[in-house]
């Protein structure tokens, strides 16, 4: 049994109560959501909060709802809920693709989207997904609510704009018509963190050309979308040649490190290979949804 350093524990009863507790217990207090990132770090004594504020009773943050042209996801929504949602699958198959390869059922039953984004692990999949989908993070603190783009929210590995006394409340994803998306990951084993992964979202215009595109990469040292591909792809009909070029740009844009999961050139190769695959899949899916609508 791995044993964490001593800490105190309290259960929050509401968002306001959680914020008050964070304020009261100060710098060394942390909220715990699913606990699947925080508790392993505590057991290894890499994280040593004095206070754990448990937000698992905040059922008001556990929801998925389509609100006009936005999908609103409460911060306490579990991975499993995202994986099993038909709305999510229809609107954003990239989320379903990603959730299918996030850890295992035990982790997915507890782990939350809020915890995932706030942890901001470089190999964490939902950050890439949210970047690609141009999600907005709703953060609440003593001074009220702020809305942050992913670029503002996500500051780098293990770093976000959420202050110690704030909570991530909700993630909002804009719904676009004639669009689709995809995610693919290479891992050494199911439940292992990504060697590398890529996500893409595309919109097609009435002529079948790409009107909007975003490509993101996971675990290869890039905390932003591969914006380089936009100029190449937008306005063009999707072809293998274009995907190949996009893959090349992605492999140049990333900045991976060598580790037990693989050497740098392999990871760059995966950035290329997976970018091509997700663009291909996203365009295929988008084209299918366009034809569905016209029928």
């Amino acid at each position: 049994m791995q044993i964490p350093a001593p800490f105190d524990y309290v259960r929050a009863s509401s968002v306001d109560n959680a914020l008050a507790l964070l304020d009261r217990h100060g710098a060394e207090s942390r909220v715990v959501a699913g606990g699947h990132s925080l508790l392993p770090m505590m057991k290894l004594r890499l994280a040593r909060p004095d206070w754990l504020i448990d937000i698992n009773d905040l059922f008001e943050l556990d929801y998925l709802l389509v609100d006009k042209d936005v999908l609103r996801i409460g911060a306490m929504t579990r991975h499993t809920t995202l994986l099993e949602s038909d709305d999510v699958k229809r609107l954003f198959p990239i989320i379903t693709d990603a959730e299918r390869v996030i850890a295992d059922p035990i982790v997915r039953n507890r782990g939350t989207i809020g915890g995932s984004l706030c942890q901001a692990d470089p190999a964490e999949d939902l950050s890439t997904v949210c970047h690609v989908l141009e999600a907005v993070a709703v953060v609440r603190g003593p001074a009220g609510e702020r809305m942050l783009s992913m670029a503002d929210f996500h500051r780098g590995p293990y770093e976000t704009a959420v202050a110690q006394n704030e909570l991530l409340i909700e993630v909002r994803i804009p719904i676009r018509s004639d669009s689709s998306s995809a995610y693919e990951k290479v891992e050494r084993r199911v439940g292992d963190w990504a060697v590398a992964a890529a996500g893409a979202s595309v919109s097609l215009d009435s002529a079948g050309a790409i009107s909007q595109v975003a490509v993101g990469l996971t675990a290869v040292g890039l905390d932003r979308n591969v914006t380089e591909v936009e100029a190449v792809l937008v306005g063009q009909a999707p072809t293998e040649e274009l995907f190949t070029e996009a893959g090349r740009l992605a492999s140049l844009a990333c900045d991976p490190l060598a580790d037990q999961r693989g050497p740098i050139d392999y990871k760059r190769h995966l950035a290329d290979e997976l970018t091509r695959r997700v663009l291909r899949a996203a365009c295929r899916r988008a084209a299918a949804s366009v034809s569905e609508i016209t029928i």
């Binding site: 049994m1 050494r188 199911v190 439940g191 292992d192 060697v195 999961r261 392999y266 995966l270």
Partner: protein, 797 residues
Amino acid sequence: MTILEDRPSNPAAGDHDRPVGHGRMQRKEDPRFVRGKGHYVDDIVLPGMLHGAILRAPVAHARLVSIDTTEALAHPKVLAVITGSDLQALGLAWAPTLSMDVQAVLVTDKVRFQGQEVAFVVAEDRYAARDALELIQVEYDVLPPVVDARKAMDPGAPVIRDDLEGRTNNHIFDWEAGNKAETDAVFASADVVVTQEIVYPRVHPAPMETCGAVADFDPIDGRLTLYETTQAPHAHRTLFAMVSGIPEHKIRVVSPDIGGGFGNKVGIYPGYILAVVGSIVTGKPVKWVEDRSENLMSTSFARDYIMQGEIAATKDGKILGLRTNVLADHGAFNATAQPTKYPAGFFHIFTGSYDLAAAHCTVTGVYTNKAPGGVAYACSFRVTEAVYLVERMVDILARKLEMDPAELRLKNFIKPEQFPYPNKTGWEYDSGDYEPTMRLSMKMAGYDELRREQKEKRERGELMGIGISFFTETVGAGPRKDMDILGLGMADGAELRIHPTGKAVVRISVQSQGQGHETTFAQIVAEEIGIPPEDIDVVHGDTDQTPFGLGTYGSRSTPVSGAAVALVARKVREKARFIAAAMLETRPEDLEWEKGRWFVKGDPSVGKTIAEIAMGAHGTVALPEGIDGNLDAEVTYDPPNLTFPFGAYICVVDVDPGTGHVKVRRFIAVDDCGTRINPMIIEGQIHGGLTDGVGMALMEFIEFDAEGNCLGGSFMDYLIPTAMEVPDWETGFTVTPSPHHPIGAKGVGESATVGSPPAVVNAVVDALAPFGVVHMDMPCTPARVWEAMQGRTRPPV
């Protein structure tokens, strides 16, 4: 050894529906396990029990400058902090290993691997014990480590074992088997010779339950009760008596339910000794249970063999000879658990299943700044490395000769009429009939169809691979004339008592870690004396309650203890005959046995069941001369030879050409372990071993960085397979009984771990043939496979 009755072994074994005795039945131990009611070391709670925790070295090689325990001792819940110098004063700082070396219990002079034991804290609870570790101040003077075994013997390499007198290098042993001159001659005359460096990287058994102990020393009567995660309780008791000075009759070792061993729980770890010292020092019971990282970083690893393989053949595919030079990384202490005479275990069975003209191997063991161990992970004393070497070499030869690997194997198998077969390195294979087993696996796989599919796929640029492995194991150590561990012969005892009502208890000296002993051994007795397995209690794991024997590892329980149990049951059956004769007022020779009952020849209606005889024995029947009033017996079994199970495995993989990701699509395993006692338990053993094999082939690896930091210290870094990485296993069997085992059974616990890694790797290499790949070392992770596709295969160490 006397076999009371020579019966033909049972050709019907493997038959599923036999009510009493051998056959498929659910495991007697499972009701408690599936209900979560198993009772493991960590479940033991004794009154007043304290908790220990070990401070471990953060670096691989360093001189210990100072330890300051003042602050830890000041912790309100800490009762004792024990350091190496405390142990030195008691003469307990060093303990003998199972390979005649010594290992530091706590560091006195120098840290020799990362994770080595530095100090032991005893506290009121495990939280306080763990917290107090952070209050111990240790100063280290860091030294350059020896990480790469290839550099261990370089002149000028740091000398790790300067504790051993006169040591000037990191050499442990040189060992050889076979005939060098004959082998060289065969190679010189061969048409074809292929050579390949083959690395079996360091892996770890990673049992679900980590190691631990509860030590309870009673200062009044000087009695030590030690609850331990051990695969060999009797051997541990004797060794504890020898080391600690506590007399053996005052020591009781109890091995309760064990959550997996795989050889990880054979040796005596410093933690066990420290729990005992902690209990002696405080006068209270002390529990120590290691955490996952401690288990992975400090307890017995497996493999770590760098093998230079060479195989010689004629151009039409007759294999002539095999030779290899091995560099073995044994870590900082030579703590390998193996029979004394065999520093490389049973590696010299590396001639495999083939009839060769000559073979020769040398093995050199070296010290490095890594955790000690070596023989573990269901390896059958390094048959794993041997089988991997020969099965890879045969595949490489097949490629060179442009022959189908199945055909090459079929052509070179030892023929059935050659058994008992003396191989070129000193083994005598007891029995075998390889071709039908190989053919059955090919039939189950649809081998020709698979090759056709592969051809079509290759034309489309898809990467599909088919890998074969045909292994011969050597298990059931072992004959006392050849084998001992630290002077203890490798025999096992069994005691059987039939209670007056015909229920029975059998006490055995081997210890289950999940193998199903409580069922299998009851079935062996049931088969012999004809009472239902449900009526037979199997007692194991407690030295106060069981006869002496060397324990469970190396697939030895059924070959050794299983034989003891069959023989003790036959002894009881024979005694029952005399008692039955007295009861029936006839002569013993006029009685005939049918399962469960002695009856009068020619008049089957007149007879006595075992239950009636047991009541008679304990009752008032006038017993014949020399027969005492019970139905009990005991036996100690010294096996005349090892047993040689074998099997044919075929693995089918698909490799993603864009990512290098390997998917094991199918795995066909045909095993021959002789007589099959409980086919369901055998299949369970095979399923587990195959999963291990896929894990080793694809992902498992204890890696170190240049500073000697262990990079495999958690399950985030040391990957073990899940249900998602393995296919539905397709198992089959043939039955070639062991001629010398009382019931013809051979061991099977490690067959699949031994036999499966080469099948997977052969399949991966076969898939990569279009890239010109002839070999790649494990683990076949996506990155390493992709590198192989780029022509950049590299050894893992």
